[in-house]
């Protein structure tokens, strides 16, 4: 009997070590993939996005391949909703592509486990000077190296219903002359007084918990707070600072007073049923908001209020990274060629058409009418160029911060104690930092 138990135990350990230790043995190894015509193959993954984006990228890939003879670019698109799961699985099974895009700060987690290759050495000065500052910030990891560059930035601000604002007698703010806290509340009051307005501010609760890390950070920053201190590697003192607490107390108050719908499940409060006069949502809603069935010309952009520490705006979007697989396959130079092409002015010229986002290069921005001084989207450009962007925490625990902040925010809206919720979140985040030994490079 004892012998049997020992035998079982030993085989269990053996099995476990087979499974757990080391990654799978894959055919690749350290060889460059070359196709029948002798061209070097570069494998690229991208998140699928909208049909227009797919069209744009397919065209880009085609153009790239036909424009030169030495590299064949192969692209695979994966569904957005489950993109990260697939990328993580690929890391576990050691079959990452050479090049892929990641949503903003997610890059940090991958850089931390060595799945990415830094690209600083490849970036020319011209390129660096032409890129929006937030793009560089977003792509820089704790070790000071750049691991990701985005083709575009996101625009986040308040969309406003011009007629409703005028009807309520609310002043339309500008970046130079924003609302302060008092005027913000006043405006909300005036708007709520209108018959057609039920909840003045559409805060997009229907987007779920994952949205808060992006949408509410500007509020928190404007109060002087933050979600995470990247130099201390801690959320303590940032997420639960007095300033952050004030910011979250404000959103709780907004729910209590009916300025926002604490039970929101609808998406079209601003552009469909029009029971909201303001909407906290980004550039991706530009087509819908300005459509005929939406608000047409009534849809305008106004800046966030200044709650004390200036007007802040959200920032960050998908960015391209070179992976460790590129190093293994010895295709770093080729991958950079592709990246350079993606960031070229000609490539970026079409990105606005494709997804309405803000091209990351100033030279390209200058070509687009919507981004010129009287263009409807000028505010997006202005805030980014003038450095109002508050970049999300670029740290490997980004996912946890997103999850915890989101959950805390939702609970706070339902009435939970603000300090308690924030402290809980801080604890979870810091514990994860501890467990992973993330104390920076």
């Amino acid at each position: 009997m004892l012998k049997r138990i020992i035998a079982v135990l030993i085989s269990t350990m053996m099995i476990f070590s087979l499974v757990a230790c080391g990654s799978g043995s894959n055919e690749q190894g350290a060889s460059t993939e070359v196709n029948e015509e002798g061209k070097v193959v570069v494998n690229m993954w991208r998140h699928e996005g909208t049909p227009k984006e797919s069209e744009y990228y397919n065209q880009l890939v085609e153009d790239f391949n036909s424009s030169q003879d030495s590299i064949e670019l192969k692209v695979t698109s994966l569904p957005d909703a489950t993109y990260m799961e697939q990328v993580n699985a690929a890391i576990l099974s050691n079959d990452l592509p050479d090049l892929l895009d990641l949503d903003g700060p997610q890059m940090a987690g991958f850089a931390n486990v060595g799945a990415l290759t830094p690209i600083d050495s490849f970036i020319s000065d011209t390129l660096k000077n032409d890129l929006l500052p937030s793009i560089i910030d977003q792509g820089t990891y704790e070790d000071g190296h750049i691991y990701a560059l985005g083709q575009f930035e996101s625009g986040l601000s308040f969309w406003a219903n011009k007629s409703l604002l005028e009807e309520a007698g609310v002043r339309i703010p500008t970046l130079d002359s924003p609302w302060d806290t008092a005027e913000f509340y006043e405006s909300l009051d005036k708007l709520k007084a209108l018959d057609s307005v039920q909840y003045p501010l559409d805060i997009k609760l229907n987007y779920g918990t994952g949205y808060w890390i992006y949408s509410y950070l500007p509020f928190v920053a404007s109060f002087g707070g933050d979600y995470f201190d990247s130099t201390d590697f801690s959320a303590n003192g940032a997420l639960n600072s007095d300033a952050s607490i004030k910011a979250f107390e404000m959103v709780q108050e907004m729910a209590e007073k009916g300025y926002i719908n604490g039970n929101q499940s609808t998406d079209d409060d601003f552009y469909g049923s029009k029971i909201s006069a303001l909407s906290l949502v980004g550039h991706w809603m530009y087509p819908t908001h300005t459509s005929e069935e939406g608000l047409g010309e009534d849809a305008i952009l106004i800046p966030f209020p200044d709650f004390g520490k200036g007007v802040k705006t959200g920032s960050g979007s998908w960015a391209w990274s070179m992976t460790s697989a590129a190093k293994e396959h010895n295709v770093e130079d080729e991958v950079w060629t592709v990246l350079e092409y993606l960031l070229s002015e000609s490539a970026l010229a079409g990105i606005f058409e494709a997804n309405g986002a803000i091209p990351s290069r100033v030279s390209v921005l200058d070509q687009i009418p919507e981004f010129q001084e009287n263009g409807i989207l000028y505010l997006y450009r202005e805030q980014l160029e003038k450095g109002h962007a508050k970049v999300r925490p670029v740290t490997p625990v980004f996912g946890v911060i997103q999850s915890e902040v989101g959950e805390a925010a939702m609970n706070i809206i339902k009435g939970s104690d603000v300090l308690e919720e924030l402290n809980k979140a801080v604890e979870e985040i810091d514990q994860t930092v501890e467990d992973n030994g993330y104390h920076g490079k």
Binding site: G24, E85, Y207, T266, D267, G272, S273
Partner: protein, 282 residues
Amino acid sequence: MKNRLTQKLKKIVHYLVLLFFTYIFIFPLFFMIVSSLKGDEMQIIKDMSSLKAFIPYGEINFQNYIDVFERLDIARFLFNSVFITGVTISIGVIFNSMLAFALARMEFRFKKIILFAILALIIVPIESILIPMLLIVNKMDIINTYTVQIIPFVADAFSIFLFYQSFLDLPKALDEAAIVDGASYFKIYWKVALPLSKPVIVTALILNGLARWGDLIWPLMVTRGETYRPLTVAMQQFFTLRPIMWGDVFAFSVIITVPVLIMYLLFQKQFKESVASTGVKG
């Protein structure tokens, strides 16, 4: 006279109750189909917060279906799902019922342990073993294939248990008669037990089939790119866009759901076979 009236009344009440439940179970399906036919996305969103969601009005057309077909390689994804599910449950029925038969009708060492283990395995949530499973199939080098989506699920603890319960109920007399005739247990399994178990086989096929058809997490982790991707993964794409194009989502849902329902309708005939013919009981 009175009897016929009460009979009729009973029948009417019976149907009324059935209709009541039909109403409860059908409205989401109805909503799905109606919405998928509304060509105007904005209208769908507007209707969502009222009873209008169930009324087909406005732009009724197949635009959403056209959208879905244009955007996705539906033929391929449909084929993948059908192929993977079909192969898995076909092989599964054989493997699972064989083991269940052995457990129910035969004696062998470790039988009790295995039976206990099967019950226990039903409990294990797949989310807890995804990572080790991934590491194992990675070592086997079958990532991104049909094989990797089929083999792990060919044996299913729930199906085994289902067959086991049903085989337990088969009269022992049949076994004994067959043994006297010199038949092997395999013959008993193949020629006696299985034919008598049509309802259970159909049930197992349907339930197992549904589980595989709706599998999302596993194919997500083991497929890369479009070649071997099933419908469930492809569908994810429609849930990320902002605003979500509900018309397309519902059209896609109809495309995934209706074929399965039709299959179920066809398979159902098996349920009509009552086992009154066996006679031998106890």
